[in-house]
Symmetry: C2
Subunit: 416 residues, 2 copies
């Protein structure tokens, strides 16, 4: 019998309580012992809830109860959650969380405490929701040099972009719809400006390279500037626009890391990752390309990943699993001006397609403008460094107002 406590009875916390009760028998068979939910910590009242008798308001009861082996932290944020996690680990309890903000900002310190106290600190649910990604990355792909990880890491923005692509909604209308459906917060900044995806790509980079990458070091761009015109032109050119988190290792061991919208080819496996789904692609030097796909958020899907970590923590209660990272990796981060990539441009052009003037600046491929306003021109450049992109954009801007520019994912995948 392993007894656990849940901190925070919000969406994920209540999902964990519900799923651990619903699937009790399956979990018991898997683990050869029962998991019992003893406490739920929340400051609110839940009078008519089936779990109301487990709800307590004083964290010290959990901290001081020797029966509690695993603490599930689903409070979110990096304040109280940080304080309670630290106390739980210091009291010798395993901690499992879905809190990406906490892991991205204080993960290194919390992992160090877990190491010192010989307990597990697991956070599979912090990236990709239900998708098993951190365990496979650390364990199943453990024999690989990880060359690259990129993916759709935020379900809210993916929902918005999917609705722009499939229903021709404007960004604003798609956002409103996402808010109405509960997929986006009333203050959607963390999602639409890419901060959430940034925390997740940092956690993936931390695990892949064993060093802590600070979110502040990551150039982060959201989707609020993406227009329906861009989405439509991209589609006509057999591309879709997706917000990607990316980390890529250079030959010299430095990494490029960024969050930005990208045009990706419509036959790329990530192109069919729609709605609130996430998809994460890992490229290793021996596994080649592996992709993981599933619901990036939601009550029960996230609970699935949390409970898997609870099971794993109990399985490794004696010999902890040393997943994680130590030390700062901020000096590994290379300047994006050295990264080579192609770029999509949409420019204002009174002569509609003044290829000659553009060709003097760019070796480029014109995109069809089906459905786009007159007097515009859209093209994709050949790959070049970020520095060259800046230089050439300055030249372009002198002749043609730049309406938008979006990175293109240069696809290295094999194809028949």
């Amino acid at each position: 019998m392993a007894k656990i406590a849940i901190l925070g009875f919000g969406t994920v916390g209540s999902g964990v309580a519900e799923a651990i009760t619903k699937n009790a028998e399956i979990i018991q068979n898997k683990l050869s012992e029962k998991i019992e939910l003893k406490y739920i910590l929340d400051i609110r009242e839940f009078p008519n809830n089936p779990f109301s008798e487990k709800i307590i308001k004083d964290f010290s009861i959990i901290q001081n109860d020797p029966e509690i082996e695993v603490v599930v932290e689903t409070i979110g944020g990096a304040k109280i959650a940080y304080e309670f996690t630290k106390k739980a680990l210091l009291s010798g309890k395993h901690v499992v969380t879905s809190n990406k903000e906490l892991v991205a900002t204080h993960g290194e310190e919390l992992l160090r405490i877990a190491r010192e106290k010989n307990v597990n600190y697991f956070f599979e649910a912090s990236v990709g929701g239900t998708i098993p990604i951190l365990t496979p990355l650390e364990s199943c792909l453990g024999a690989n040099k990880i060359e690259e990880i990129y993916g759709i890491l935020n379900g809210t923005t993916n929902y918005i972009l999917t609705r722009m692509i499939k229903a021709n909604l404007s960004f604003e209308d798609a956002l409103k719809e996402a808010q109405a459906l509960g997929y986006a917060e009333q203050d959607p900044t963390a999602d639409i400006e890419g901060h959430d995806a940034c925390r997740k790509i940092c956690i993936l980079a931390d695990l892949a390279y064993g060093k802590n990458i600070s979110p502040e070091k990551v150039q982060t761009e959201g989707i609020s500037n993406i227009t329906l015109d861009d989405v439509t032109i991209a589609e006509a050119g057999r591309y879709v626009i997706k917000l990607l988190g990316r980390v890529k290792m250079r030959e010299d061991g430095k990494i490029f890391i960024l969050v930005a919208p990208h045009l990706i080819k419509n036959d790329h496996p990530l192109a069919v990752v729609n709605d609130v789904f996430n998809g994460i692609l890992v490229r290793g030097n021996i596994c080649e390309e592996v992709m993981f796909y599933g619901k990036g958020a939601g009550k029960l899907p996230t609970a699935s990943a949390v409970i898997a970590d609870v099971i794993d923590a109990v399985r490794h209660r004696e010999k902890r699993k040393d997943y994680g990272w130590s030390g700062s990796g901020d000096d590994m981060v290379a300047d994006l001006s050295e990264m080579v990539y192609s770029m999509y441009y949409r420019i204002s052009d009174r002569h509609s397609g003044d290829c000659k003037a553009i060709s003097e600046i760019y070796d480029h491929k014109c995109l069809s403008l089906e459905g786009a306003p007159d007097g515009e021109y859209a093209f994709v450049t050949k790959p070049m460094s970020g520095k060259e992109h800046e230089e050439k954009a300055a030249l372009l801007q002198k002749k043609f107002p730049i309406l938008s520019r979006i990175r293109v994912l240069d696809d290295q995948r094999e194809s028949v």
Copy 2:
């Protein structure tokens, strides 16, 4: 320091030797100890090979060497591989394999011996090549009731179907091309008739449901009857044809299990799994839908999964991981006449589209016949049981010669 031996220096065995040498430092960092390849067992000579001095011909040297902790079996087949695996386990050595035939046919017995001898028997590489699927299924999705698993489990047939779809090759020409490229064996029966996919869906079912499903219990149909006409008609109807292995649990706990070609919607995540790639979708009662994608075969990709298991075996050398199944699950297998699904038909019809006569038999959706011969008609039925399909097909056959019929994957996925 953990010392290992490889049995069989073929494609996968030599890939393991190469990758374990190439990525020695990464593996050592991951494991906090070195892995040393001490022996390679093979009856052949490899005079100019960098590993030639490790090659031995006598298995008993490995069996009796107390330094050998992990034996990597990459011989293939279920004869010598079975004998050596048994001896290695009985000698208290962990065994790791990519041999799906052995695992599907003797896995239960070998797992029982491993349990008795307190050693690990791992076989991640036996399904999905490089894709982490068995560990995530057992561990990361461990809190779920697995409702359904289906996927593209065989790279050879997926290559052939991809070439039929993308290059309009006939089945025979696509097979010849696959053979020339080394993707198909000179005797391609095991792949094209679905036997390989059958072993893999059995292993997935075994793990998901904890009982041994015999490959002989699984209705298995290959792709040798798929014609270019069907591929073309499917494409015009926004479908692609893929060979799927499927296992699905009914409410009463019985399972439907089969291998057969299927029409799947072209916006389904498996539809973009092309060439020699595999894709496996798992649906659980709390994780919802999770998909895994990667190279289903190949020297280094398969080695990646094998070495991950070696690392895991060493990590769990004291406390073994009890992954696996016990007892027979053959009485769980339900008759496919009770399974409900839609079916694609192509029939000979002199009057080209005698909807009335067909509508008397089937509630159906006509498919465009763009590019197909005159005097044919193709349609997709509404879902019905296998039994009803047989009854109606007998009626249909009386009026119209049936040229082909292929199952349709009824897609339960959400969409915007």
